[in-house]
């Protein structure tokens, strides 16, 4: 007798949403590596200095590359400057969106909120609905039917993954969502995770965005040139490729439906330039386990926890040597996933069924 077909339903309103609740995977207790409270408190301390420095550098680089791209407009020399501008706009904004969304980057709340709004616009993620989506991602990380931010559902759509490098699918989808919000409407899934008290803010921000985009498009039409859109709007697309290179490393190909971030997230070592662009989100297991620790303290947190963690990846290339074959294999064998190996020194009771990593990581 053949095994029953597995339903890969990632909808938050589908069968797996209910199953996740029944199996105790929704809003569950997650494994946290042991760390003395005193040390964790030190690592949770917020400072404005690092984020102000990085933000000034970010805006300066945007202005510099933007000026040079403008200066060389009409010649081939503008291309490298638009590539750099695009990465600073469409890639670096992702990590600023993320850290300021958690309000951990700056000590001062309003600074987090201002950069969050700017970065949300740059990365085309409507600020309020995505704040709530990301909240759910932290509650139910890679739990099928619960997490709205599973980047590569199984079986993987490899063409879709390829198109994601220039947000060809997700960009227009977001614009459609903004248009819907402008009209005062939310998707049924958004209504699940965004409280009603927050809806007016979503509609307001969407209308402000629509005005900005209308202004930029009108300007481009008026001067018969795409140039204004090359600086605002299009960089979210042509500059997104490195964001996707970084972002796919977080969870792609790893276990679903486990309650242990060591098994469904990756920590990768990166060079200082990438870490500036990515704001240390490469320490992703540590971030998920202790989201109160600001990005500039994640390397120190990693040093504290590494004996309890799987081996970190030595870089982007090593990571993609794992991800690419895994996604190809998952096309034909969607139940396959990468099993992260915990070190023998891991301070967990592996045989205790109460621990998530002992759970079978199977589709629901």
């Amino acid at each position: 007798m053949s095994a029953p077909a597995i339903e890969f339903d990632y909808s938050l309103l589908g069968k797996n949403a209910k199953l996740a609740e029944e199996k105790g995977l929704a809003s569950a207790d997650w494994y946290a590596s042991p760390i003395p409270r005193k040390r964790l408190k030190e690592l949770m301390q917020r400072r404005n200095g690092p984020a102000i420095r990085d933000t000034l550098l970010w805006f300066t680089l945007l202005a510099l590359t933007g000026f040079l791209a403008y200066h060389f407009w009409g010649t081939w020399w503008c291309i490298p400057f638009f590539i750099a501008y695009g990465v600073l706009y469409g890639t670096a904004s992702d990590s600023r969106w993320h850290e300021c969304g958690h309000r951990t980057a700056f000590k001062t709340t309003w600074m987090n909120d201002v950069i969050y709004e700017i970065a949300s616009f740059m990365v085309i993620r409507e600020s309020t609905s995505w704040r709530w989506s990301h909240t759910r991602h932290h509650t139910d990380t890679i739990i099928v039917g619960r997490d709205p931010e599973i980047a590569v559902p199984r079986p993987p759509d490899l063409v879709g993954v390829a198109l994601a490098f220039f947000i060809v699918k997700s960009g227009p989808k977001e614009f459609k969502r903004v248009a819907r919000h402008c009209l005062g409407s939310l998707t049924p899934e958004e209504k699940l995770y965004v409280p009603e008290s927050e809806w007016p803010r979503i509609f307001l921000v969407a209308r402000i965005w629509a005005l900005i985009y209308a202004g930029i498009i009108a300007w481009s039409i008026a001067i018969h040139s795409i140039l204004p859109l090359m600086f605002i709007g299009l960089p979210s697309f042509y500059g997104a490729w490195l964001m996707v290179v970084f972002g796919l490393t977080q969870h792609a190909g790893l276990a679903e439906n486990v309650l242990d971030h060591r098994l469904n997230s990756r920590t990768i070592y990166m060079n200082p330039v990438f870490r500036f662009l990515y704001w240390n989100m490469n320490y992703h297991v540590e971030h998920h386990m202790f989201p109160m620790v600001p990005n500039y303290n994640l390397p120190a947190l990693h040093a504290e926890l590494k004996d309890d963690m799987p081996r970190p990846y030595r870089g982007i290339i090593e990571t993609y040597r794992e991800i690419i074959p895994t996604l190809i294999r998952q096309r034909k064998e969607p139940t396959y996933f990468v099993r992260r190996e915990l070190p023998p020194t891991a301070k967990t009771a592996a045989n205790d069924p109460g621990y998530a990593h002992a759970r079978p990581a199977e589709p629901l």
Partner: protein
């Protein structure tokens, strides 16, 4: 300090049980609380669970008069219980605290 006859005070902890600018958990008769100590040695108490996702605040982070939830970074002013913005949208209940010698006393009703 005078007390109303129907008030119930219980010992939550010793004053030294909480580090300055920190929080601990206190459970009593099926209820759970978070007890705070500020950097200038004032004590406060709120419901233990975040109003957003029911995560215990005792594992959270205290900054001045703010407690940050360990799971989603929702923030509350623990002196008033006021939620400080998404994802914390519903205020926390607060409870009176007094110091009796070396004991932190909590008014549970």
């Amino acid at each position: 300090m005078s007390h109303l006859p129907n008030e119930t005070w219980v010992k939550a902890c010793e004053i030294g049980d909480i580090e300055p600018e920190d929080v601990i958990r206190f459970d009593h008769e099926g209820r759970t609380f978070a007890i705070y100590r500020t950097s200038d040695d004032k004590y406060y108490a709120t419901d233990g669970l975040c109003t957003h996702e029911k995560v215990h605040l005792a594992k959270g982070f205290v900054m001045d008069h703010i407690i940050e939830c360990p799971k989603h970074n929702g923030r509350f002013d623990f002196t008033t219980g006021k939620a400080q913005g998404a994802p914390a949208c519903v205020n926390l209940a607060t409870y009176a605290v007094r110091i009796n010698g070396t004991q932190v006393m909590l008014r549970v009703s």
